[in-house]
Symmetry: C2
Subunit: 102 residues, 2 copies
Amino acid sequence: MIVYSVSVKVKSGHEDDFRLASKFNRQETRKEMGNLRFDILQSATDPKHFMLYEVYRSEDAVTAHKATMHYKKWRETVAPWMEEDRKGEEFIPRHPVEVEEW
Amino acid sequence: MIVYSVSVKVKSGHEDDFRLASKFNRQETRKEMGNLRFDILQSATDPKHFMLYEVYRSEDAVTAHKATMHYKKWRETVAPWMEEDRKGEEFIPRHPVEVEEW
């Protein structure tokens, strides 16, 4: 399993735009066989700051996700709203490790 | 609901110590009524870097968690292994929002 945490800072006034575009991307991504979670979080102290928390079964699942129309559409749609470059980090889950627990 | 993402950098040689102490803390925290998730993640590129991803039902649940023996014990145990101060961020989940989905 692989976890991606993506930190996003949007331009002021585009908080809801980003949330809604990401909601659609999440909805479609959750239908992928290789996706286990997709959480959209907004900072409690800075509404312009979001985190996406995405869990995939494998590297292949990530590759498949990046080839989908909904991912490509999301990336294009949100690009003009970014205040700074997205920061993605890749993690290996240590606990839990059973697929059923995700 | 409230999500905490805690970024941790440990001193070289203490990766497994940190993982095991956190595993015990996770195990006990998951028994709390107010805890919904507790994921322990290790960076894919820097083994000294961990993220804890914790989800609670409410602020009260967070307060209750911080009063537990296992949390206090964890904090004391891992303190000497920290390479730098922990960075905690508080988030509000936007999607999903139903408790059943956590």
